[in-house]
């Protein structure tokens, strides 16, 4: 482990074989192994606060003894004694509860799955050495310090790998790569974001980027942008809450779309009558619940899709997921919702699961942000949103805050920096009140949880009317 940062394919295969050999007394065993390394850099007040080099391993053992419930144990140690102990412990937990019988009809024979191709590895990402990251840090901080401002930020480069092997349903195994076998895969991730503040605390600017490929992130450009935003945010004025025309920069669009793209999981819910944005209502004649699939839900200029093969997206794929491109909203019409493998097998004449929009692209238009400003009589230019919370799961009404750059636009020009607002608004409303769309660009999306791979977004700037700001806030 000390030289190699992550486990290799051979390491993982050998480990899975060793661990499987410890299972006694039949039943099913699924073992997953993951490992990661990351280099991190945090800075604040124009100085690096912490530089770190971290790594870990995770092994998950799921054992189901005959007639038992799955027993689940995790460990981060990979020697024989630890692995055997983990398998034994999972067997003991498995015996705790008997489980319901399960019919083979649930999973008929499956094709030989192959993990769909996607671009998720870049040598440039682990290639950012500690020495080089020192130079990068200075390049990020210097422009702020030169202007008498305070820079804070975070940079992370990460490599990770995982593999999983299960023995469930050997009688249904069609090929090596069936759905209980996830062959070894490795990927890279890079994040960089920076917040530049005025020492008085009265202005703040932000910029960030994320990609699987460090070479696609331009730290100097981020620093420049955050400095400009901070300088332009000085002396903000308080405006009355109310409805404003907004020009949302791409980052703000991605922030407010988060609850919408998250809601594409999954069609099982509306079809079971569970409340949500995509349940239409009961069909009394057919005795089932209708969904909004096939209905126009947003402006017809909006198409939201994902494509595993898109070189800019860099999506970590799963072996049994649908390999082709998916269009969730096609010219305003809801055309797809995620579904699980059993749903595909039982009802959809398919054999692939469909994950939600883990990475996605929203269609755009031809207006630049400058043009949107020029054509606005009175409105607000929004850098990004923060602290968003869903208030209503049906209308997707959410509340949240503007952050790190908000300006008043009057008669085609930016006239004043504005104090931050709390908003109460739904992304569905915003996408039905579009005036102009710009060119889609890749934006920063934060990591969802440790080990969860990057899920990028490509979105355009949007100008929309009647965006609801409900109160002013003092925070800067």
């Amino acid at each position: 482990m000390s030289d190699a940062r992550i486990l290799s394919a051979e390491d993982c295969e050998a480990l899975l074989a060793r661990a499987h050999a410890f299972a006694r007394g039949g039943g099913d065993t699924t073992i997953g192994v993951s490992s990661w390394w990351q280099g991190e850099l945090r800075w604040a007040r124009n100085r690096v606060a912490l530089a770190s080099d971290r790594r870990n391993i995770g092994v998950t053992v799921t054992r189901t003894v005959r007639g038992g419930h799955p027993g689940y144990v995790s460990t981060n140690q990979i020697d024989d004694v630890s692995l055997e102990a983990a398998v034994r412990a999972a067997e003991r937990l498995s015996r705790l509860e008997a489980r319901m019988g399960r019919g083979l009809g649930y999973f008929p024979p499956q094709p030989a799955y192959e993990r769909p191709e996607s671009t998720i590895w870049s040598d440039a990402t682990p290639g950012l050495t500690t020495e080089r990251s020192g130079e990068v840090a200075r390049a990020l901080i210097a422009p702020a310090e030169a202007k008498g401002l305070l820079s804070a930020g975070y940079l992370e480069v990460r490599v990770a790998a995982q593999a999983l092997l299960g023995t469930d349903f050997p009688e249904l195994r069609a090929g090596k790569h069936a759905f209980w076998h996830h062959p070894y895969v490795r990927w890279t991730q890079a994040y960089c974001s920076t917040t530049v503040r005025d020492p008085s605390g009265m202005a703040s600017g932000w910029a960030g980027a994320s990609s699987y490929d460090w070479a696609r992130i331009d730290p100097a450009a981020l620093a420049q942008r955050a400095v400009e935003k901070c300088l332009a945010s000085r002396n903000p004025v308080a405006l009355e809450p109310g409805r404003y025309t907004v020009i949302l920069e791409p980052q703000a669009v991605a922030d407010i779309l988060e609850v919408l793209v998250g809601s594409f999981t999954s069609r099982e819910f509306p079809e079971a009558g569970i409340d949500g944005p995509w349940r239409l209502g009961p069909d009394e004649a057919l005795q089932l619940w209708r969904t909004k699939l096939g209905l126009r839900v947003v402006d017809e200029r909006v198409t939201i899709s994902h494509d595993l093969a898109h070189p800019d997206l860099g999506i970590l794929t799963e072996p049994h997921e649908y390999p082709g491109p998916v269009t969730w909203i096609d010219q305003g019409v809801l055309t797809a919702l995620a579904h699980q493998l059993p749903t595909a097998i039982q009802r959809l004449k398919g054999h692939h699961s469909l994950r939600g929009a883990s990475g996605y692209r929203m269609s755009g238009g031809t207006s630049s942000v400058e043009e949107m400003i020029r054509t606005t009589k009175r409105g607000l230019l929004v850098t990004r949103f923060s602290n968003i919370r869903l208030l209503d799961g049906v209308s997707l009404l959410s509340t949240g805050l503007t952050r790190d750059g908000l300006w008043l636009v009057e008669n085609g020009q930016i006239t004043k920096a504005v104090k931050n607002f709390r908003f109460t608004e739904s992304p569905l409303f915003v996408l039905n009140a579009i005036e102009q769309l710009g060119e889609p660009v890749r934006v920063f999306r934060p990591m969802r949880g440790e080990g969860e791979p990057l899920s990028p977004a490509i979105v355009p700037p949007v100008k929309a009317r009647d965006f609801s700001f409900t109160s002013t806030i003092d925070a800067i």
Binding site: D53, T75, M447
Partner: protein, 534 residues
């Protein structure tokens, strides 16, 4: 479900001893891998010292190393759905010319200790090449081979999971016998963390720390449909063992909760009338108000901008100028912090820098008097401490979820001092006469702990009684005004302690702490319709 209590008990007779046996994990002290010993084994110290030596030899001005062995067990959605987890990690931290470096990994082994010590120094040195940065660590007396075990009544990993599963299933069955209520599967989870700390200043200490939390939720039903949710509020994270449930009057509490839920449900529903109201908040809501405002804002690193790119900064924008004079609230407001508090969710004998935590005031009689500090950040308050004659010391707020993460300032256990009288929440409501009562509150905050939106179960109060349930109401507040509008505090008997989680840093670290608060009355809060747009 195909198992019964009898099945469980029958299995328990044979399996109990086996189930409770801890799994071995390995460490390598010499040539062979062998089971990881208890944390106070002297060979663990040898490992720690190896990392320190390596860091010192590589040029560290200061270094520390932590080793953690964490075991967790959770009883999830179904009572017998038990999950076990175990993790052994080590992290070394080094200071070179004012710059910190950190390295961590999952391997407890002599060579790895050397690598981590050297890597931490390497990380720091790269940045030390740039502009100068000054760090002055507040002095701390060296701990010589300290060992501490958090006193818990029942070690949860020494109890058969069958017994715990059986207890939780029994609780579910108990609720299911009441025809008006639907039980949701009760849950319990616990973590036992053994940790060792060594510093280049000669400290070495080991400790075992416990954390338990649970959930008992039920729904009131009418015509077979759930109409009103409720949950016990006594099971939030705490530094206790299985006694969180065992030996507690849980069934009595469930009965009382059922009565309260019925009483609340019987009240007529009323739409919110936007305006300003005197408001009584229950202890649950006050604990969260304290935690999300002053609890966040008095983290000194946050106030100075170290979290600017993550969760944000603090409304105490000039911490070094404000401390000692800033009016943080009404003269009745006193807030203290203490990571040594028995049973607290953040309780330790030594923090992640080997500092023995003390009890200290953050706000005394309405005035901001101190901040949450680590050894580095205490130094930033040196001038203030010199002026007030207080000793320069860390308050022991350095923490991290495990040795895999570098320590940061995390919120300690907090206490809001109760009022003089003996009033509980009902008496505060009675004393208010007309207004609103907020119970079970949840907050949406901004990124400075300043402006907030509160929600919860809101009731209209008339002639000192709750007369209606107000639907869709929320209250807006600004932290500095809120605490100045504190009109009355409940007495000591009305106080409650809750375990809360918080998230900090990049990448985010999640930790837990306790907040003890009485119910309180506030003057003239702004009440809005949460779902209404502008």
């Amino acid at each position: 479900m195909s198992f019964s209590r009898r099945d469980l008990l029958k299995a328990g007779l044979t399996a109990t001893a086996l189930m409770a046996a801890p799994r071995p994990l390995l460490a390598r002290f010499g040539r062979r891998w062998e089971p990881a010993p208890p944390i106070q084994d002297p060979r663990v110290k040898d490992l720690a010292l190896r990392a320190l030596e390596a860091a010192r030899a590589a040029g560290a001005a200061y270094a520390d190393v932590r080793l953690t062995h964490t075991r967790s067990r959770s009883f999830l959605t179904r009572v017998a759905d038990v999950r076990d987890g175990e993790q052994v990690v080590v992290g070394a931290r080094a200071l070179v010319d004012g710059y910190w470096g950190f390295a961590s990994s999952p391997v407890w082994d002599v060579e790895e200790m050397g690598r981590l010590g050297r890597e931490a120094v390497h990380q720091a040195k790269v940045h030390a090449l740039g502009p100068a940065r000054a760090v002055e660590l507040a002095p701390v007396p060296a701990v010589r081979d300290g060992h501490w075990v958090m006193p818990v009544a029942i070690d949860p990993l020494e109890v058969s999971p069958l017994e715990i599963a059986d207890y939780l299933e029994g609780l579910r069955l108990f609720v299911s016998r009441f025809p008006d209520f639907i039980p949701l599967a009760p849950s319990y989870s616990c973590q036992v963390q053994e940790k060792a700390f060594a510093s280049s200043e000669g400290s070495y200490c080991t400790q075992r720390v416990y954390r338990s939390e649970g959930d008992v939720k039920l729904q009131l039903k009418q015509n077979g449909q759930p109409v009103y949710d409720g949950a016990l509020d006594t099971l939030t994270p705490a530094g206790v063992g299985w006694e969180l449930f065992k030996g507690q009057p849980i069934r009595e509490q469930v009965r009382r909760l059922m009565e309260d839920m019925k009483d609340e449900w019987k009240l007529p529903e009323k739409p919110v009338a936007v305006g300003r109201y005197d408001t009584v908040c229950d202890a649950w809501t006050v604990a969260r108000l304290l935690d999300q405002t002053l609890g966040r804002a008095t983290e000194l690193d946050r106030a100075l901008g170290y979290e600017a790119n993550a969760g944000g900064t603090s409304y105490l924008t000039e911490p070094l100028a404000m401390v000692g004079s800033y009016q943080a609230g009404a003269p009745t407001l006193t807030v203290t912090a203490n990571r040594a508090e028995p049973g607290g969710a953040a309780t330790v004998a030594w923090d992640d820098e080997g500092v023995k935590p003390d009890e200290f005031a953050l706000v005394r009689d309405g005035i901001l008097v101190d901040f949450q500090t680590t050894r580095e950040s205490a130094g930033w308050l040196k001038a203030h401490y010199a002026k007030t004659g207080a000793p320069l010391r860390s308050h022991g707020c350095a923490a991290a979820p495990s040795a895999l993460e570098a320590p940061l300032t995390h919120t300690p256990n907090l206490t809001l001092a109760p009022g003089r009288g003996t009033r509980d929440v009902d008496e505060l409501i009675a004393g208010m006469g007309t207004g609103l009562a907020v119970k079970g509150g949840a907050l949406e905050m901004d990124f400075q702990g300043q402006s907030g939106l509160g929600r919860g179960r809101v009731f209209e109060v008339k002639r000192g009684k709750q007369v209606a349930r107000v639907v869709g109401a929320g209250f807006l507040f600004r932290a500095n005004e809120l605490w100045k509008r504190l009109a009355a505090l409940g007495g000591p008997a009305g106080r409650r302690r809750y375990g809360l989680g918080s998230s900090k840093g990049e990448p985010a670290q999640h930790t837990y702490h306790s907040v003890t608060a009485p119910p309180a009355a506030f003057e003239q809060l702004t009440v809005i319709d949460v779902l209404r747009k502008a």
